[in-house]
Structure formats: structure tokens, C-alpha cells
């Protein structure tokens, strides 16, 4: 069924440079061994259950919804530009006149004059099996370019939706923020139910003193496989927020790499996630301090219930030249129920002595004292748990960029919690019935 060959890559529409690039990547891909669960970076993952040959490149946009369900109308209303894609192809682009007049580009990368220079500028140093696959099969890469000195007040919103059984899509987004420019980008991914494969790659490139706030929301269907990469580079004095809110997917892996290549660059890495049912949510982060006096601050907070699994592994690397680095890494997890499973592995690799680094991770159930505090004010147990879990995630939520989407995210958290509470109450009821039967016998 699958045809991820060099010929298939070359056959995709686009300018010659893009076809050549795709063919080159496809050839490279063909020579790469597939990832294996025995590789350290794939440890704990579900990769051994994944079979690429079950999927075929989606080519049809008919029937694909242009706007993902669940996103509040206020998000689009508040946006300076909106690009929608369906099954990897652009279905609509709207850009405020104000943005266009300022020279901001929001659209297909291949149609912009500078596309060939910007595609891969960040990812070239961070390739893996799935980014190379994306290089080969990204049907319509997107570019957001904010020229030097331009400050955007309204967020740019990109939505991706996938549908169609056994289909695969390779969304590609390049965000380039020029020197001393400022932008906020929401990248929102959804998919229909049914077996699907999403391999998005996002490149975030922030020039000197530029400021970029990026939020990726993942609300995929629960049978979708996701292998997502957010790859970022920050130049001198640049400021970047790279954030993720993950709720969907069957097995959804998100790799977030940030390279601080210019002196004084800083980055906040934020994530909140909530897995339930049989979901697996897998996060791999890399804070790479290349230049001196750089700062990175990571806070990932997640919740798993039912038989869901979450994995966090992260590495802080401080290169020999990166004196004066400040690098922090915190991962906290709440485990609701005995069947949920969490792995959290923070790592440091420090090659300079003049640094301040710390890492922390925690995995545990809802705190008994917090639960008792709320219950002692008359809050029923299930409701107390709900408040505590939502409050736990709120710390990240209220720090996320694109404030207009926070209400949407709160609703998604609430929906997950409602399911959990209903599930728990059913179990309690079943136990009660069982006990009653036993008692009666």
C-alpha cells in the first residue's frame, strides 16, 4: 500500500529545487534503518507497534474539514492571519491587509521568494527518521515570515486537519522572525477517528533580538499516530517560547529541540498534556546551549488516567563555549489510577563550569492533603480531584502564548476530567453492586 519511494517524492508538485530536495531526502530515507525500541531515544516508546507500510500519502482534500472542531471562534476572530490545511494541502489563507502591508508573508513556502533558503535552515542540524520523511513528503510546506522590526499584535493561526483511513500527512511549517521583530503563532492539529499518521515538522527561526511565541495544540483522534518535531534556533538576544498542549493521538510523540546559538538568547519550553484511555504521549526535549549567557527554562506538566502512558525524557546540553548558561528543566506528572503509567527522565550534559543548571521531576497521585483540604469544605471527592488536576495544569496554561485559546484548552481539560470522573463513578457503582451481591449471598 505504501509508496514512500524516491519516485513518489519527486512526483509531488512544486518548483524544481523543491522536487530535487524531496528526491534527495527520499533517497536518504531509503538508506536509514527504521527506529528501534532498543535505541535510547526510542526507549519506552510504542515504535515497535508502528508499521509505516500500513499508510499511504493523503492526496485528497475532499471531505476534510477546514476548521478543526473544538477551537473557540474567538481564536480565529482574534487572529491577524489564518491558514487552514486539510490532509497536508492548503485549503484557505486569510491575511489582514495590515500584515500584508508590513511585508509579512503567510502562505505556501514554495511561492515565496526566499523559501528555498528557509526550508531546512533549522532542521538540517536535527534530522531523524521522521524529519527526513517529512522533507521527502511534505506536500505543501508553509512559511510565516515576519520582516525585521515588524511587531505583530495579533496571533497568526495555522490549522491542520487529517481524515481518511490509513492516510499519512507530513505538514511542514517554517516560522522565521526577523531581527527585532515579534510574532505569536498558534499551530493547531486535529484529525478524524480512524487509523492515520501525522508527521509534522515545525521550524522556528528567531533572528537577533526577535521575539517568537509558538503554541502547538494537538487534539488528534485517538487512533492517530503522531511523530512531531518542533525544531528551534535562537540568535543573539532572541527570545522564544516553544509550547505544546497535547490531548489527542493514539501514540503521539513530540520532539522539541531548541538551540541557543547567539549570546544572550533565551527560551521558555512549556507543555501541558492529558492522556486517557489507552493513549501514549511521548515527549523528548533538547535544550542545547551553544552560545554564552543563554537561558532556557523548561516546565512540562502532565496528567494520565485510565491505562494511558506518558513519557518525558529531556536533555540539557551546555557546550564548552556556553559560559554563563542558565538552564532549568522541570517535569511534573499526576497519575490518576493504578493502571496509568509515567516515565520521567531528565538529563544534564555540561561541558562548562560557569553555569547554573537544575532539573527536577515528579510523578505521583493527587496529593492527599490537598484532596482533604477541599473535601473538608464540603467538596465531593470527585469534584475535589477535578479542581486539583485542573489547578495543577493551570500553572502552565496561564503561561501559554495566544491567550485567546486558553478557554478552548480549559474546555478540553474539563472534558477529559468529566470522562475520568464518570468512569470512576461507574467503577465505584460496580463495586457497590458486587459488594451488595456478596453481602446478600
Amino acid at each position: 500500500m505504501a509508496d514512500f519511494s524516491t519516485d513518489a517524492a519527486r512526483a509531488l508538485a512544486g518548483p524544481v529545487w523543491l522536487s530535487d530536495r524531496r528526491a534527495y531526502a527520499a533517497a536518504e530515507f531509503a538508506s536509514m534503518p527504521p527506529p528501534d525500541a532498543t535505541d535510547e531515544e526510542w526507549r519506552y516508546s510504542a515504535i515497535q507497534e508502528f508499521d509505516l507500510s500500513e499508510f499511504a500519502l493523503l492526496s485528497d482534500v475532499r471531505g476534510a474539514e477546514a476548521t478543526p472542531s473544538g477551537m473557540g471562534d474567538n481564536v480565529l476572530g482574534d487572529a491577524g492571519a489564518v491558514i487552514r490545511t486539510a490532509n497536508g494541502r492548503i485549503s484557505s489563507i486569510e491575511v489582514d491587509d495590515e500584515l500584508a502591508a508590513a511585508g509579512v508573508y503567510v502562505g505556501p513556502l514554495a511561492a515565496s521568494g526566499q523559501g528555498s533558503a528557509q526550508l531546512g535552515a533549522v532542521s538540517a542540524d536535527a534530522t531523524d527518521y521522521f524529519t527526513v520523511l517529512n522533507d521527502a513528503f511534505a506536500v505543501e510546506p508553509l512559511l510565516i515570515h515576519v520582516p525585521a522590526g515588524v511587531v505583530l499584535r495579533k496571533p497568526i493561526v495555522v490549522t491542520h486537519h487529517l481524515s481518511g483511513n490509513r492516510g499519512a500527512a507530513f505538514p511542514r511549517l517554517v516560522v522565521h522572525v526577523g531581527a527585532d521583530a515579534q510574532a505569536e503563532v498558534l499551530d493547531y492539529h486535529t484529525s478524524a477517528q480512524g487509523s492515520l499518521l501525522a508527521c509534522p515538522v515545525t521550524e522556528l527561526d528567531v533572528a537577533s533580538a526577535g521575539r517568537l511565541s509558538y503554541l502547538n495544540v494537538q487534539q488528534l483522534g485517538t487512533e492517530t499516530w503522531q511523530f512531531s518535531s518542533h525544531l528551534a534556533r535562537a540568535e543573539r538576544d532572541a527570545s522564544l517560547t516553544a509550547s505544546t498542549a497535547a490531548f489527542g493521538g493514539g501514540y503521539a510523540r513530540t520532539r522539541s529541540d531548541v538551540r541557543l546559538v547567539g549570546r544572550g538568547a533565551n527560551c521558555d519550553l512549556l507543555a501541558l498534556y492529558f492522556g486517557d484511555g489507552n493513549q501514549g504521549l511521548d515527549f523528548r526535549t533538547y535544550q542545547d546551549h551553544v552560545a554564552p549567557d543563554t537561558t532556557s527554562n523548561l516546565l512540562y506538566k502532565g496528567v494520565v488516567s485510565d491505562a494511558a502512558r506518558s513519557i518525558y525524557t529531556g536533555l540539557i546540553r551546555v557546550r564548552p563555549e556556553a559560559r554563563g548558561t542558565n538552564a532549568f528543566q522541570t517535569n511534573r506528572n499526576l497519575k490518576l489510577g493504578d493502571k496509568a503509567w509515567v516515565e520521567s527522565v531528565p538529563n544534564l550534559e555540561i561541558e562548562n563550569n560557569d553555569v547554573r543548571c537544575s532539573h527536577a521531576s515528579a510523578v505521583g497521585p493527587v496529593d492527599t492533603e490537598q484532596q482533604f483540604y477541599l473535601e473538608s469544605r464540603g467538596v465531593r471527592s470527585s469534584e475535589a480531584e477535578r479542581l486539583i488536576v485542573a489547578g495543577f495544569l493551570e500553572e502552565v496554561l496561564e503561561s501559554l502564548p495566544v491567550a485567546a485559546v486558553r478557554e478552548t484548552l480549559r474546555h478540553q481539560i474539563d472534558a477529559k476530567l468529566s470522562q475520568h470522573v464518570e468512569h470512576v463513578e461507574h467503577v465505584e457503582l460496580d463495586e457497590l453492586v458486587e459488594n451488595t451481591e456478596l453481602g446478600g449471598g
Binding site: 496529593d367 492527599t368 492533603e369 490537598q370 482533604f372 483540604y373 477541599l374 473535601e375 473538608s376 469544605r377 464540603g378 467538596v379 465531593r380 471527592s381 469534584e383 475535589a384 479542581l387 486539583i388 485542573a390 489547578g391 495543577f392 495544569l393 493551570e394 500553572e395
Partner: protein, 244 residues
């Protein structure tokens, strides 16, 4: 008119017996003081009454009118009309007082009524309205925490409140305001107050009808308000000798 009757209450925590047969009986509108030295188990009594799951009840009963509280989880005890104002209230990040009170009061109450009650109570005890939005007890001073507890008491209007060491961490003005508010609740809605303390200064505003001396896991002596003064003068040595 309600009664709270504790009989033969025994409990342990961490394998150690702390409550060794507590008997205490009180009625609506009354203020009872439980006085004892540090480590005598006073706070354990508060937690066991409120239903903390880490304490193992070994025997006895606690009845609010006809209802046996020991059979109920903490939240049902609270809904039955019991309130615990904690000595060290727990931090609950991301949950504001407003979020809590909206679900702790019976759902038939509408949000605007609760909102009005919160604002009114905040004003009565000199508690800034900004605290209604802040995470519960996170980055609050000792005095702010006690005001926070007192505000909840004012909004929830319990039938009986256990007030655990309300005087710790409070400056004089704050103590006066908070204890006056508790005293007012005993008059305005006939709340019974079980005031746990080891200092008598809280009694300047909150006058006890009955004083119990708590030592060695049980009540050793019960008397009137003058017993508090006697304790202030002589301390707990007498009972320590009897138990030693």
C-alpha cells in the same frame, strides 16, 4: 438547636495511639475551648473529627444530632454542617477560593449569591478581594491564611466549626478581627465553635462558655472560662505529673 457529641473517641496515626478516649459534648451557639500543650494531640482531634483519611479511628463515636459522622467521608461531614479551620491550611495551586466555594456550597445556590457573600465576608475581616482570585494558601502569610479560613467559615455557615490554633501566626489586629468574626457567627447563625488553642489571648474576643484541658490524648478536666486563666498562670504541669 443541634448538638455535637463525642464519646470515647480513640484514634491512631503512624502506629501510635494519639486519642485515648475523648468525651466532649456541646450545643449550637456555644464556644468550647480545648486547651493543651504542644504535642498533646489537639490537632489530631481536629483532623479525626473532620475525617482526615490518614488517621485510623479505633473506637468511639461522634454524633451531629442523630448522624454518626465517623461513618462518613470528610466531604459529607462538611455538608452535614461541620467545618475545620486549619492551623496550617494546605496550598492548592491553581485553585482559587472562588472555584472552591462555587462547588462546596450546595449547587442550588447561584453563583452571584456566593460572589456577594464572598465579597461581604472579605470586607468584614479586612481581607483584600485580590485573594479571591489567588491560588488557595499559595504564597499567603500566616495572617492571610487565617483570614482565608475565616472567610470560608463565614460563607459556608457551618453548624459546628473546629477552629485549630487560629492565634498562631496572627498579629494582634488580625487576631481580633478573625476571632470577632467567629464570635459573631455563634450569635448570628447559632454556630457552635470548638476552639483549639494553647494560649488564652484568643478569648479576649471569642469568649468560651466551657474550657477543656486536653492532655495525654484525653480531656482531663472541664470547667468555665476561669479555668483558662488558671492554665495561663500554672501551665499544664499538674496533668503532666498525673500522667507521668
Amino acid at each position: 438547636m443541634s448538638t455535637l457529641v463525642i464519646e470515647g473517641l480513640r484514634a491512631r496515626v503512624g502506629g501510635q495511639d494519639i486519642l485515648k478516649g475523648v468525651d466532649l459534648s456541646m450545643a449550637s451557639g456555644e464556644v468550647h475551648a480545648v486547651m493543651g500543650p504542644n504535642g498533646s494531640g489537639k490537632s489530631t482531634l481536629a483532623y479525626v473529627l473532620a475525617g482526615h483519611p490518614n488517621f485510623e479511628v479505633l473506637g468511639g463515636s461522634v454524633r451531629l444530632d442523630d448522624l454518626e459522622l465517623l461513618d462518613l467521608p470528610a466531604w459529607e461531614r462538611a455538608q452535614a454542617g461541620l467545618f475545620l479551620a486549619m492551623q496550617y491550611p494546605t496550598e492548592v495551586p491553581g485553585v482559587a477560593l472562588r472555584d472552591l466555594l462555587r462547588v462546596s456550597v450546595s449547587t442550588s445556590n447561584d453563583a452571584s449569591e456566593i460572589e456577594a457573600a464572598m465579597r461581604q465576608e472579605a470586607k468584614r475581616i479586612g481581607f483584600g478581594e485580590k485573594f479571591l482570585e489567588r491560588s488557595l494558601n499559595v504564597d499567603l502569610s500566616g495572617g492571610e491564611m487565617k483570614r482565608n479560613e475565616t472567610l470560608q467559615l463565614g460563607v459556608l455557615r457551618p453548624r459546628f466549626a473546629i477552629i485549630d490554633e487560629i492565634d498562631s501566626g496572627l498579629d494582634f489586629d488580625a487576631l481580633r478581627m478573625v476571632s470577632a468574626r467567629v464570635e459573631a457567627a455563634t450569635k448570628e447563625h447559632n454556630m457552635g465553635a470548638l476552639v483549639i488553642t494553647h494560649y488564652s489571648r484568643v478569648f479576649e474576643q471569642l469568649k468560651p462558655d466551657t474550657v477543656h484541658v486536653f492532655y495525654g490524648g484525653r480531656i482531663q478536666q472541664t470547667g468555665g472560662a476561669d479555668l483558662a486563666q488558671e492554665l495561663e498562670d500554672t501551665g499544664y504541669r499538674r496533668w503532666s505529673n498525673e500522667n507521668g
